[in-house]
């Protein structure tokens, strides 16, 4: 989230699109209820289904799954055409005025630079024009036809309300009502918050879905202000922590990236990561990258990492390609990966195209499952009749199960959607032989290190040289690890002007990332977390919920990254003179000498507004990007592409239907279904009562949603002769499932360009383990293709057919 949970109560308008906040975040949803009850806020829900969020909304707008960019593109067109934007904000705080190179263009569904063979773009034309000083050229009048503002206007002029109605199926009157309410938040004293989740992220153009709303929010001046923001609602209670600590295959902690094989030295690696300011006087805070990076290497390799050996840069793996989960399962499927540590993950249930996953696991030599539950993945080799039709005799994989403890059985931190790191304490011992993940991983590491010491190996150095400073060698404590993540001083640091003055003493915890250095004198496991465990103690353990400004920020409860800042980009909550756009909802303000307020300023505290430094300090331009240069693989402006399995052709450009830059493996391209064979749009989703594939192991949860069902509209049910409660068969080109039909008014047929399109809703939770009635993984049906930028699979929009079935379940 750019903002924070409690801040949602400050919103005047809450838009739930690309997610179902009441369903998946019932506790966080209380802030929406607060906004409605105490701030007279309105709630708009845009969703293919009338969900539990829609049940408490003021306006519900139906939409075809997978057409969010068209819907939001229409909104952008509406705002620009009707001039309903926050003018001062757009001019000063976005790259609307920046001039784009003449070589950049878009026509017939493709941006310039497309290579059809490789399915990728050469993005060099997607760039700013620069002046002799290397700065980007701008036109403050926003009239130059090559300025971002004008290019954006032209790009979205195709997204008329008629076009949106054709593509999305949303009725015109509802579109206008929603867009009018959203346009009202362009006023400086009104704010709209966007709450989204997997309804946007689980598509082949996911990143662009989110980008489109970000553009809307920037045009309305809703970023950095109270009650505004782009608020991603994360799933698992610590999934934010997972991405923050760099557990994606191409990341290192703090959203830094692993070097590629084309960056064999530290210098080569840092060269494209210079982040020099693209406009005069901008902070471009990523310029400090070398400090974060070197401090990370010091944390990893301790005394082994010195200036002479480039801080053990050579010990980091270098990527040839990105090893995302789709690719790694493809490699397992091809027999190229032999062993798999599956930790806290259940790919048999969670991953698309179950048949492929089972095949992949069956080809492994060994599989190690580290999980508190006996998951379907841990039992992938067991035959469960129609629910898991495998022949154990043919599966040679050796499966090890290492039971782990659960969050309540260990100390540690969880990082929530609002970037809060909340420390929790052990409440009970884990059952049986379960051990914490830390202890299991330490044990494995120490044994491996021992074996490498005795037997040598291909390249033991990074393993032998790993910094392992824990009091009890075989039992690192969560606090010790938290202290490493925060960062500490490695060598005394003296005043640069007077070497006799000691500023920071070796061994002490750092206060924040501003103290990080690139000379090896500081170590820090994760720069964005620096400040969470200082000399003052464990900041994550604070439990003071006082809210002196009634802001919803709770600044003394736990600790938020970065540096306990609760609303990101909050300098943008003030005009260019430092006066809040909305004085009744101050976040920070310039008091003549410094920036003060309820939140930690996202800005150098003493930087005068007149100096012209802009709020988006992490960007080299200092401003937010409406046009994203070459940073996104599939385009600098979001464009509507159909899902890979779609009921109609792309109305904007039928020759380029789906995302042209999304990666598709050969075998998977062949199993996409066609609209002729599979006429209905399917979408998978979650229910409040069951969390993914865990909660079904709890008796009470199982009682509340005991059996697999699929939701279909009354019209489709009538057409197929299906009554409420009947068993039906749902088929995609990859397999079929059986489920109970819940016939509902909440899913309506949509008119898509004159064609009636039905939606089939498929909740994901039931499998062949747990206390619920056995079910079929919804992912038997889903397609094996992911987002062009981050490879999140397209679970949310694909094609199926349905028919009544004999009750066999």
């Amino acid at each position: 989230m750019t903002n924070t949970w409690g801040d949602i109560k400050n919103a005047n308008l809450v838009v739930i699109m690309g997610g179902n906040a009441a369903e998946a975040h019932p506790c966080g949803f209380k802030w929406v209820t607060e906004a409605k009850a105490h701030n007279k806020a309105k709630l708009i829900v845009v969703d293919p289904r009338f969900t539990r969020s829609a049940a408490v909304s003021d306006l519900y707008v139906p939409i075809r799954a997978g057409t969010d960019i068209a819907w939001l593109g229409g909104l952008i067109n509406y705002l620009l055409t009707n001039d309903k934007i926050q003018h001062q904000y757009v001019k000063a705080f976005t790259n609307a005025s920046f001039l784009v190179k003449p070589g950049f263009g878009f026509s017939d569904g493709l941006f310039t630079g497309y290579n059809e063979q490789k399915r990728e773009y050469d993005r060099s034309s997607w760039a700013y024009q620069s002046d002799d000083d290397g700065y980007a050229k701008v036109d403050e009048t926003l009239q130059d036809p090559r300025c971002v503002f004008q290019l954006m206007k032209a790009h979205y002029s195709r997204y008329t309300i008629e076009m949106v109605e054709r593509i999305c199926g949303s009725p015109k009157d509802k579109l206008l009502q929603a867009w009018q309410w959203m346009a009202e938040t362009a006023a400086p004293d009104r704010a709209m918050t966007s709450m989204y989740a997997l309804g946007w992220t689980q598509h082949s153009k996911a990143s662009q879905n989110i980008r489109t709303m970000a553009i809307v929010q920037l045009l309305l001046g809703n970023i950095g202000v109270a009650g505004g923001g782009m608020n991603a609602l994360r799933g698992h209670s610590n999934i934010q922590g997972l991405t923050d600590l760099g557990l994606m295959s191409n990341l290192i902690p703090g959203y830094m990236t692993l070097p590629s094989e084309e960056e064999p030295t530290k210098a080569a690696y840092l060269k494209p990561r210079g982040f020099k300011p693209l406009r005069p006087g901008q902070l471009s805070y990523w310029q400090n990258y070398p400090k974060f990076f070197v401090s990370f290497l010091k944390a990893m390799y301790g005394k082994e990492a010195t200036a002479e050996n480039d801080f053990c840069f050579d010990w980091l793996p270098k990527l040839d390609v990105v090893y995302d989960v789709l690719r790694t399962f493809e490699l397992k499927h091809e027999g190229k990966i032999h062993g798999y540590f599956c930790q806290g993950f259940n790919p048999v249930m969670a991953f698309p195209h179950k048949k492929k996953i089972i095949n992949a696991l069956s080809k492994l030599k060994f599989l190690v499952v580290m999980d508190p539950l006996a998951t379907e993945t841990a039992s992938f080799w067991e035959n469960h009749g129609q629910y898991n039709d495998v022949d154990p005799a043919k599966i040679q994989t050796e499966v090890f199960r290492l039971p782990t403890t659960c969050f309540a059985e260990e100390d540690g931190s969880l990082t929530n959607s609002g970037r809060w790191l909340q420390w929790h304490w052990k409440g009970a011992d884990g059952p049986g032989e379960s051990r914490s993940d830390i202890l299991i991983m330490s044990d494995l590491f120490l044994r491996l290190r021992d074996m490498y010491r005795k037997e040598g190996g291909a390249f033991p150095d990074p393993i032998l040289g790993l910094h392992w400073p824990y009091k009890l060698t075989d039992a690192p404590s969560p606090e010790e690890i938290a202290r490493e993540i925060n960062g500490y001083v490695v060598e005394d640091i003296t005043d640069p002007k007077d070497a006799s003055v000691l500023q920071l003493q070796a061994g002490q915890q750092l206060d924040g990332f501003a103290q990080l250095r690139d000379d090896g004198k500081t170590a820090c496991g994760c720069w964005i977390y620096s400040g969470c465990f200082t000399e003052k103690g464990n900041q994550m353990a604070r439990r003071d919920n006082s809210d002196p400004y009634d802001s919803g920020l709770a600044p003394n409860w736990a600790w938020a990254w970065p540096v306990n800042r609760r609303i990101l980009y909050n300098r943008a909550s003030c005009d260019i003179e430092g006066k809040p756009w909305n004085p009744r909802r101050k976040v920070i303000e310039w008091n003549g000498k410094s920036w003060v307020g309820p939140d930690v300023p996202d800005f150098p505290p003493a930087m005068k507004p007149a100096a012209g430094m802009n709020p988006f300090i992490m960007n080299s331009e200092g401003v937010a990007r409406l046009f994203t240069l070459g940073l996104m693989k599939d385009g600098p402006f979001p464009e509507h592409y159909e899902p890979f399995e779609a009921p109609v052709a792309n109305a904007l450009h039928p020759k380029v239907n789906a995302n042209p830059a999304a990666r598709v493996f050969k075998g998977d391209l062949e199993v996409f279904g066609s609209a002729d064979d599979f006429p209905h749009v399917a979408t998978t989703y979650r229910l409040t009562e069951l969390f993914h594939f865990w909660a079904k192991h709890c008796h009470i949860n199982a009682t509340l949603q005991p059996q697999q069902f699929v939701e279909i509209g009354e019209a489709l049910a009538k057409e197929k002769g299906i009554n409420n409660g009947d068993t039906i068969k749902v088929r995609s080109n990859r397999g079929h499932i059986f489920a109970v039909a819940v016939v509902t008014k909440r899913i309506r047929p949509l008119n898509i360009d004159g064609k009636v399109v039905h939606t089939v809703g498929i909740p994901i939770h039931w499998g062949f383990t747990g206390q619920t009635k056995k079910g079929f993984s919804a992912n038997i049906l889903t397609p094996y293709v992911g987002d062009a930028n981050v490879e999140t699979p397209e679970y949310k929009a694909f094609l199926v057919d349905i028919e009544p079935a004999a009750p066999s379940v």
Binding site: A22, E23, P26, C27, F29, K30, T33, K36, A37, K40, F50, R52, S53, A54, A55, V56, D58, Y60, P171, T688, E689, H699, I700, N701, A702, T703, L704, Q705, P706, Q707, Q708, F709, N723, N724, G725, D726, V740, A741, V742, V743, T744, K745, R746, Q771, T772, K773
Partner: protein, 305 residues
């Protein structure tokens, strides 16, 4: 069963001896604001957990409503109904069903077992299970169809409004668990005031007929609803519009009782007087026979010669 004291009991089933009344307690109420409810079932889960009850894991018969009905183990249940009052304006009305804790409880009135059902001075209606004989009259007596008889121990069970928690100053488990504060708990006066602010908010959002459900036919209830459509409680999965204790129970436990007693008394009195007055004048068969024999005998014999 709760930790409330016996002097808190203002009414006991099937008991005519007068109830204690020294203590003055404020009446409590649980307010369920359906316009804030997201149907998450945290309340269902909390109820099971607090009361250490578990129900069967059933099947899905075509609904989000699980289990399908209240049972001896499921004391509260989210009921889902989809309504379309206006064109193109769908509403998904999700109501938390459970005991309404009536001021004039039909279950208590119908119950023939002394002290199996009690009403406390704070308004809570509780089942004292050790006195329950499992006759099922409470089910018939309840205008809302709430109590359920257990197949395991043949006793009736229902929501206790967490009388045990309330007696030590805590709110009911469901209210504590509700993430959106759709469930509020406090004095009845406060809850009515809160309901008013909610109704005003709903009016501003276009729900002209929003209102508080506190049915007078049962003397008002200690579980109340804020309804978006207070004129149509039937839209909310069969919430009765004007619930009253059924006439049969009213009469059977009401007028029928004294009438029956009087009848019994009069019959006894009549019988006595009849016996005293007419009894001795009645001749029984044996005497009749003997008399006949004596009359029919010849004169010589009668003289006794």
């Amino acid at each position: 069963m709760s930790t409330l004291q016996s002097l808190d009991i203002t009414r006991r089933s099937a008991t005519t001896s007068p109830s204690p009344s020294v203590r003055e307690t404020e009446e409590v109420a649980k307010l369920i604001d359906i316009s804030k409810c997201i149907g998450c079932k945290a309340c269902q889960a909390a109820c099971y957990e607090w009361n250490d009850l578990r129900d069967e894991i059933g099947i899905n018969i075509g609904s989000y409503q699980n289990p399908h009905d209240l049972t001896e183990n499921t004391w509260t249940l989210m009921r889902f109904s989809e309504v379309e009052l206006e064109d193109d304006k769908l509403e998904w009305l999700i109501r938390k069903d459970g005991c309404m804790h009536c001021a004039d409880p039909g279950c208590l009135k119908a119950c023939p077992s002394p002290g199996a059902i009690v009403q406390y001075s704070n308004g809570i209606v509780d089942f004292i299970s050790e006195n329950c004989i499992g006759c099922g009259y409470c089910v018939k007596g309840c205008p809302f169809n709430i109590p359920r008889i257990s197949k395991k121990d043949q006793k009736a069970y229902k929501c206790t409004l967490c009388s045990d928690r309330v007696s030590v100053g805590l709110e009911p488990a469901c209210a504590k668990a509700c993430p959106t504060q759709a469930i509020s708990f406090g004095t009845k006066t406060d809850m009515i005031e809160l309901a008013q602010t909610r109704v005003t908010d709903l009016n501003e959002r276009g729900y002209d007929k929003a209102g508080l459900y506190d049915p007078p036919g049962v003397g008002g209830t200690h579980v109340m609803y804020v309804l978006q459509h207070a004129d149509r409680p039937d839209l909310y999965s069969g919430l009765p519009k004007d619930p009253k204790i059924s006439a049969l129970v009213e009469v059977w436990k009401g007028a029928a009782k004294p009438i029956a007693l009087i009848g019994l008394g009069l019959t006894a009195l009549f019988g006595f007087f009849h016996y005293v007055t007419a009894g001795p004048n009645e001749v029984d068969e044996a005497d009749e026979e003997q008399a006949k024999k004596t009359i029919d005998q010849p004169d010589e014999k009668r003289d006794g010669g």
